[in-house]
Amino acid sequence: MKKNITLFLLAAAIAIIPLFMWQDSEFGGADGLAEEKITAIQTDYKPWATPIFEPPGGETESLLFSLQAAIGAGVIGYVIGTIRTRSKREKS
């Protein structure tokens, strides 16, 4: 388990250290950059479909993203609990 804690800490470090490297960056998700590239290559390109639903703003978007993470984390927690209990029972 110590090994896994090390792995988690390393993963966290990889995510955190950039925050100190780029003090003036907003760390934008920038899907928009590919869009810009497309319109730079083909100046007359018009997207022919638009999203059916678009979150009205950053707040709602972060709500939905955290909902996605929460649902996933809930399932993972449930499975881990099930396996742990089962493996304890099998040992005894």
């Binding site: 090994k3 896994n4 090390t6 792995l7 988690f8 390393l10 993963a11 470090a13 990889i14 995510a15 955190i16 250290i17 950039p18 925050l19 490297m21 780029w22 960056s25 760390f27 934008g28 998700g29 920038a30 899907d31 950059l33 590919a34 869009e35 590239k37 497309i38 290559i41 083909q42 390109y45 997207p47 022919w48 479909a49 638009t50 999203p51 059916i52 639903f53 678009e54 979150p55 978007e61 939905l64 993203f65 955290s66 996605q68 993470a69 649902i71 996933g72 984390a73 809930g74 399932v75 993972i76 449930y78 499975v79 881990i80 099930t82 396996i83 742990r84 089962r86 493996s87 099998e90």
Partner: protein, 240 residues
């Protein structure tokens, strides 16, 4: 030794950073209709194959449902995490390697498409018209390339946890390489053609994605380590 490699890799990528943000999935409407349809047609057989794989896994052992849920949830969580990268922008992991190791690559086509559908419908992240293309890169090309690497390293006798690191790394990098290729094919540059466009698009994410891929590799390795420890209690799953 393995930890040392991981650490050196991480340091290497921090030092080789530059500032260009990342592209993620192809946005709604941003593929010409011909290509959008093309990628849907290419992806559908893999989706059907995946359904069959999952059904077979559950038929053989109903308990496999639990681990299918785990694999899906893992991809669900990971693709919700927009992680800051060394390039001063954010991108997210794909999370497809874990399920690929447990159920094979086609199974992840199904689970990956569920994740993409959620993001396309509720988050306007990616799109329905581009779902075929995004599914091909994230849920077909990534998992199949990762699976090849996984089998090769397994044959070479690598431990499952370490193997998971490389498998996840490949799943992530291949996903975004294929996305660039898809964009380049649809939007070849007037002067340099597809190749020049590919370099342009790949340049958007290349370095950003590498630090993300390392991060994803570490998290997948941790999950596989844990599962390996409780191996005897896993019904209907073996790291195939």
């Amino acid at each position: 030794m393995n930890k040392l490699i991981i650490l050196l890799l991480a340091v290497f990528f921090w030092l080789n950073s530059y500032t260009e943000p990342a592209a993620m999935h192809i946005m709604e409407g941003f593929l010409p209709i011909g290509w959008a349809v093309f990628w849907w047609i290419v992806t559908i057989p893999f989706f059907l194959w995946g359904l069959k794989t999952l059904k077979k896994a559950v038929d053989e052992n109903p308990e496999a449902k639990l681990m299918i849920g785990f694999a899906g949830a893992f991809a669900f969580v990971l693709s919700a995490l927009k992680i800051p990268s060394v390039t001063g922008s954010s991108s997210h992991p794909v999370g497809t390697a874990l399920g690929t190791m447990m159920f094979g690559p086609a199974a992840m086509t199904v689970l990956g498409m569920i994740v993409l559908l959620f993001q396309a419908l509720l988050l306007a992240h990616g799109g329905i018209t581009t779902l075929g293309a995004n599914a091909f890169s994230m849920a077909v090309a990534g998992p199949f390339a990762a699976y090849a690497v996984y089998r090769m390293l397994k044959k070479a006798g690598m431990k499952a946890g370490t193997n998971a690191f490389f498998t996840a790394f490949v799943a992530n990098i291949v996903t975004y390489t294929v996305t660039s290729l898809q964009l380049a094919l649809a939007f070849p540059s007037e002067t340099g053609g597809v190749y020049a466009s590919f370099l342009e698009f790949a340049g958007i994410f290349a370095v950003t994605q590498v630090s993300l891929a390392v991060c994803e590799g570490l998290l997948t390795a941790a999950a596989v380590n844990w599962l390996e420890k409780h191996r005897t209690s896993l019904k209907g799953v073996h790291f195939s």
